[in-house]
Symmetry: C2
DNA sequence: ATGAAAGCGCTAACAA
DNA sequence: TTGTTAGCGCTTTCAT
């Protein structure tokens, strides 16, 4: 294993000079710098991460806590994780992958051990049990998702309330008066995941304002669950002509079932999805949708964290404005029969 | 920040004693151990990761390289990643998330810096450019996926050749004589991803043996691409009655298209999928499928790595035997018309 | 069964 | 512009 001392000797300079060449924290004459860089290359030197962390008091690692469950939004999680990892690298950070399994203990462990300099939490719940600890320790962190109380925290998220409102607005504008919302799995609501509840809020508020009726039904993914849910909806509200779907694994089943029942999209019923663009485009009907900006959230989280670690920027609350893209699944409400 | 020295002082013992209580590497009297453990709890001590890595020469971190692309098997990747992370924790390891982006450089960086003790590579290509380096450095590692030459490497994978064979066998056994294979995106074959080519091998070999005709067509995901692909297949081989699908995002489109054309599943055509069980069960027709054992692969990779790091076990090649579950999408071939 | 002390490889004052 | 040196917090011989 090549050490800094060996590089120094090889280049005929002191250890600190090599260190400073690496960190750029003081000016070095061009000739020295080049000799050192040459030696580094020749010897194949890589600074030891442990020593660096110990002496420099920063590990250059960002911890990313992802949810253990995979009952929702797997592609979104993955996209965020990849965006976090690549963005982190461009800033010289590596990413430590933590699952929610350990819960608050993971926060304690990572903070206490100096394993990571900062952390990003995904799948934040409204009353998340990790938050008190985060606030208390002052650990630099960014939440992806919004808890009930954001005081003293930095959060990034899609503006779900606006997203819900936007969906209703679009359908209402097309003349739909009875809208059904096909939501995430019941478990998601039971654990008070912020985005699900906020979306619902937005949906309902704007519905009230526009005089539209909204029926919300959670739905486990898959064809069978969707069949049951759809049957119930049409039973309770036969006049339903608009659907908002916030559940990736219900999208295609819904379309299949509507087709099967002879309800044409968008002639008879309109469908608006809340999902990544890729899903919307690949569906059997190109879906009018509000995109979940996964990459943007991941990138932003890292950049904010890096700024914090560099002493720039403080707490912040970033709500990304939703964008609705009109595709082939929504159109004017059919004339009332 | 609480240090080991502070714990030692608080407990009235020496630093080494605290260290040994933590590592269990030498016997400690019960009373001392209890005093030390008490102090650790009272002070909220967490060993510093950097110092530990520096002095102990192991970081207790396993690096996981995931592919950057998300053109295939996102849920599988995610499941593997989560299985790796949770299994690693049960063995006292943390997981560093690397994307393929850096390529071989990442291997060099992680190895050289002592950031991780070992690595797991996903999405291994037949002639993967990271392998020479891995072999040369002797870095403890496990590949998930099989390269062309496995010499000196440890690999885990589903036995894709057997998987392909099994699918043909099942359909042939049901009397199907013309089988179409709907594969991954063309790009997957172009970069010679091992599993895709091996599956094809298994498919073709067994087809030859059972006197069945096989037509293979790569397919980008989504409805439109699937429509084009299906049209071509039925054009070239109108007698096709069996389908093997190895592309998650083509599954539902295929089913929808078949339905649309009035071809009943499984009465007119049979479909066998290669996908996670969850996908097979949630599809609009419960799919006969060969499962991709994602969790098992992740868990095995970690366990093998831990064994290696503990000086137990060496190189190894584990091919997980495929299992085909018969569900509602396959049945006897219709009588020839 | 326990302690004392020498590093592990690096960073960052402090000097020159 | 460069060198010298004192740690960072831990593990692990070597002693006792």
């Amino acid at each position: 294993m090549v050490t800094l001392a060996e590089v120094a000797q090889h280049a005929g300079v002191s250890a600190s000079t090599v260190s400073y060449v690496l960190s750029g924290k003081r000016s070095i004459s061009t000739t020295t710098r080049q000799r050192v860089e040459q030696s580094i290359r020749e010897l194949g030197y890589h600074p030891n991460a442990g020593a660096r962390a110990l002496a420099g008091k920063r590990s250059n690692i960002i911890a990313l806590m992802i949810p253990l469950r995979t009952d929702m939004y797997v592609p979104v999680m993955m996209e965020i994780a990849i965006a976090v990892a690549t963005t982190a690298r461009t800033h010289g950070y590596d990413v430590l992958l933590l699952t929610g399994e350990e819960g608050p203990d993971a926060v304690r462990r990572v903070t206490g051990s100096g394993l990571a300099d900062a952390m990003i939490l995904m799948d934040v719940e409204l009353e998340d049990e990790r938050l008190p600890l985060l606030r208390r320790t002052g650990q630099p962190s960014v939440l992806i998702g919004l808890p009930a109380d954001t005081d003293g925290l930095t959060c990034v998220d899609l503006d779900w309330t606006a997203t819900g409102a936007l969906c209703v607005e679009h359908l209402a504008g097309l003349g739909h008066r009875d809208i059904a919302v096909i939501g995430e799995a019941p478990a998601v609501y039971e654990r008070h995941t912020g985005f699900a509840e906020r979306t619902l809020d937005g949906l309902r508020t704007r519905a009230r304002e526009t005089g539209v009726r909204v029926l919300h039904r959670p739905c486990d993914g898959g064809y069978d669950a969707m069949a049951v849910t759809l049957a119930r909806i049409l039973d309770e509200r036969p006049a339903t002509t608009g659907f908002v779907v916030q559940n990736e694994s219900a999208v295609e089943p819904l379309l299949a079932l509507l087709r099967q029942q002879g309800r044409a999209v968008p002639e008879d019923v309109s469908v608006v999805a809340i999902c990544p663009d890729q899903v919307a485009v690949q569906a059997s009907v190109r879906l009018t949708s509000v995109a979940v900006p996964a990459q943007e959230m991941g990138r932003y989280a890292v950049e904010h964290l890096v700024a914090k670690l560099d002493g720039r920027g403080g707490d912040d609350l970033v709500l990304i404005a939703p964008e609705l893209t009109v595709r082939a699944s929504s159109g004017p409400a059919p004339a009332a029969s």
